[in-house]
């Protein structure tokens, strides 16, 4: 590719795309986010609204639990028969005039997209909103190949124009309010295309019109489009994209060449299976009974839509996830974001604190697995993600494909601990504390002695039954920054029971 003539540089191409690389471990990243009052206000308002609406449309369906069970069962079938189903899909897409490519990792997938774009003689692509292409950092890879990438989903466009990082799977600019979006449009649109109209206000209709005008120019000019896929039907070779705006439909129909990057788990076996997911997804994602635009295509059709269709099947860690019998349920995910919207941690920290394009509860179980936690030790930021949850379980309750996120979080914590134990000669302070606690709890005698000691310490340091701090350093110091702690009782229940014969001895 380096031999290609250098096209004129557009402003977007002169600086690297923002990246999650370098995000600190979750507790630290969360601390910064928690300090941002505007962010917390924006997020609290947005998640409360979508959460309430989702609950209302889900409550309309008497068969919601049956749909969830069906969704989980179909996805489990896909994961069980994945190799055969993928080959069936490949055969069907090829028979319908498409070309199928296999990509083991991000680098392979990005190289295939760049190569197809160069071969088409194009220097820019329009993009449909897609998590797979965010995951492989396609935009940055294409920029380095001299190709301009235009995000056309409204929220993705806001993130791109703002040189920002996404903070939500479905609504990547959820951390921005209307006034911030207006400012981004005014400052940035003119640098990469049609400027924002003069006198733009923060009224939603005006903002939408500014986006429409800005994007139309790009839709009409682009010769190559890149999309992801919500589903692909193995038996027919049909690829499905579900969206709300219609901007995806423009990309999927106007350009000459369409490239779709799809995670290998996005399959459904049969056309009929879509019935389940096209009910589960819109209600869970946008709280709509049915999404406004559902685009389906099978290979190419002469005289109608793109003349060439390329489907890139992306592994990028997914077969590693599949090898973990507990963790693999994360591959059922249909990227609806319902778990983000109900998560009390996400609501307060926002998505960027997770350091991944997959934030929130699903990100906390998917990111470490895609980064290979089952196979090799992971970095500190990745290892912090399974702990970014109070295990409240709200995510599991709303998941349309019944991913038991708390179960997987705890399972991954076990992997983190085992890796830590294997890679250090001496146990960590936490490991020593846990070891001491386990030793103490192993017999009632040890526990009784520890309780007596704690009771004495409590009497020495407590005021009106509460401790304001624990003397000396310790891993639990964070407790006391904003909280007191109930002091250990003078007499444990165990000791009371023995002394009073279970309260029968008169002295209660």
């Amino acid at each position: 590719m380096t031999g290609a003539a250098e096209p004129a540089r557009s402003p977007l191409r002169t600086r690297p795309e923002p990246s999650f690389a370098g995000t600190p471990p979750f507790p630290e990243a969360a601390r910064d986010a928690l300090a941002n009052k505007q962010l917390r206000t924006n997020l609290g308002r947005a998640t409360t609204t979508i959460r309430t609406k989702r609950a209302a449309v889900v409550a309309e369906r008497a068969d919601w639990e049956a749909l969830r069970l069906a969704g989980a069962a179909i996805k489990d079938e896909v994961l069980r028969d994945l190799p055969a189903l993928l080959e069936q899909l490949e055969a069907a897409v090829t028979a319908a005039g498409g070309t199928v490519h296999w990509a083991r990792d991000a680098a392979e997938a990005n190289a295939i997209v760049a190569s197809i774009t160069h071969d088409a003689g194009a220097t820019e692509v329009v993009k449909v909103k897609s998590m797979a292409t965010q995951e492989i950092e396609l935009n940055e890879a294409l920029r380095l190949e001299g190709i301009d990438v235009w995000e056309t989903d409204l929220a993705e466009m806001i993130v791109q124009l703002g040189h920002d990082l996404p903070s939500h799977i479905l609504v990547p600019a959820i951390h921005r309010n209307r006034s911030e979006i207006r400012d981004i449009f005014i400052d940035e649109m003119g640098r990469v295309g049609r400027p924002a109209p003069a006198g733009l206000t923060n009224e939603p209709a005006e903002l939408a019109e500014a986006a429409r005008l800005h994007l139309r120019e790009k839709f009409l000019r682009a010769r190559v489009a890149v999309s992801g896929a919500n589903f692909a039907v193995a038996e027919t070779g049909t690829v499905v994209v579900v969206e709300s705006e219609g901007n995806g439909r423009m990309c999927l129909t106007l350009p000459e060449v369409l490239i779709t990057v799809m995670g290998i788990e996005k399959l459904v076996p049969t056309w009929r299976d879509l019935e389940v997911f096209l009910q589960l997804l819109p209600r869970s994602a946008t709280a709509e009974r049915m999404n406004p635009y559902t685009s389906m295509w099978t290979g190419v059709t002469a005289g109608d839509g793109p003349a060439a269709f390329h489907l890139i099947l992306l592994d990028n860690g997914r077969t590693d996830v599949l090898s973990d019998t507990v963790g693999r349920q994360a591959l059922r995910c249909i990227r609806c974001s319902a778990c983000l919207n109900v998560c009390p941690v996400y609501e307060r920290t926002g998505g960027q604190a997770y350091g991944s394009v997959y934030p929130g509860p699903i990100g906390a179980i998917l990111t470490p697995q895609l980064r290979g936690i089952a196979k090799h030790p992971v970095d500190k930021q990745t290892a912090s993600l399974p702990y970014a949850s109070s295990l409240c379980g709200a995510c599991f309750d709303v998941c349309p494909v019944r991913i038991d996120i708390p179960e997987v979080l705890v399972h991954l914590r076990g992997q983190v601990v085992r890796q830590s134990e294997a890679s250090h000669r001496l146990p960590s302070p936490e490991g020593m504390g846990m070891g001491a606690a386990a030793w103490t709890l192993r017999t009632p005698r040890r526990l009784g002695l520890a309780e007596r000691a704690a009771g004495v310490a409590g009497r020495l340091f407590a005021r009106r039954g509460m401790l304001r701090r624990i003397p000396g350093p310790g891993p639990v110091g964070g407790w006391f920054r904003s909280r007191d702690l109930k002091a250990p009782a003078r007499e444990s229940f165990r000791a009371w029971w023995r002394r009073t014969d279970g309260g029968r001895g008169g002295d209660r």
Binding site: P344, G478, D484
Partner: protein, 249 residues
């Protein structure tokens, strides 16, 4: 019916009055309760923090301590859910690893008999009016594990509604997690406190004199925040309210 009390390790150490309240309450209702002294801890802290192997001896001990009882009643929805839902998983680890090939069977004989207090009162004893008197304004926090893992539903509020003199006030966003989360409270202390602060704001806004719940672990966190703010709002376990007769409140 042989009934055992599983006090839980932190109630044993920090809140013995909760266990004493259960003993009083059940005796008032005509049921004696045993305290098997061999019990220690359900292992939840280790399990949820990723130290699952360390849980195996704790599960072995739990299963041995409570074998032979018809019902094991506990003042913690969280520990009850650990026993009912995750002890079988720990046993599987022990079986697969060869540590204890018979543990799954022994767990299966005990863990389904472990009931959170309100499940025991409403489902087994069939009472909602336990003859309590507690003339105070009370808000109820439905803790996550009792609600989402055990599914105790409206049992606690039905019991509270029958308490003489008690005024139950609405707690806004009551189903939201308080942010305790076991070791989450120290590993992610800032996020935990942010969640707890919102909960405390809702409690203070409710006008309650007392906040109650079926888990003292959550109450320890919320109570710790209230105490640091100097708030007069008290936290009390449900059992203490249900055991109260007016003379002792």
């Amino acid at each position: 019916m042989r009934v055992a009390l599983f006090i839980t390790c932190y109630n044993d150490l920090l809140y013995p009055e909760v266990g004493q309240a259960i003993v009083r309450l059940l005796r008032r209702l005509g049921h004696d309760v045993d305290f098997p002294a061999e019990q220690t801890c359900c292992g939840q802290m280790h399990f949820n923090s990723g130290y699952q192997d360390a849980c195996i001896p704790l599960v072995q001990r739990f299963t041995a301590a409570f074998a032979g009882y018809d019902v094991v009643v506990t003042p913690s929805g969280s520990c009850a859910s650990m026993v009912r839902r995750y002890h079988p998983l720990v046993a599987e680890l022990a079986v697969e690893g060869g540590a204890d090939p018979g543990l799954s069977e022994r767990v299966a004989a005990v863990s389904p008999r472990v009931l959170e207090l309100t499940e025991f009162l409403v489902d087994v004893l069939g009472v909602t009016d336990v003859g309590a008197r507690f003339p105070h304004t009370v808000a109820f926090h439905p803790t996550c594990h009792s609600t989402r893992l055990l599914g105790v539903g409206d049992r606690p509020t039905r019991l509270l509604a029958a308490v003489d003199g008690l005024t139950l006030v609405d707690l806004p966003r009551s189903e939201a997690c308080c942010g305790f989360g076991g070791t989450f409270a120290v590993k992610n202390a800032d996020t935990s406190v942010a969640m707890g602060t919102d909960k405390v704001d809702d409690v203070l806004g409710s006008g309650a004199e007392v906040l109650t719940a079926g888990d003292t672990s959550c109450l320890m966190h919320i109570g710790g925040l209230l105490s640091r703010r100097g708030s007069p709002v008290r936290v009390m376990h449900l059992a203490e309210i249900l055991a109260a007769t007016g003379a002792d409140a």
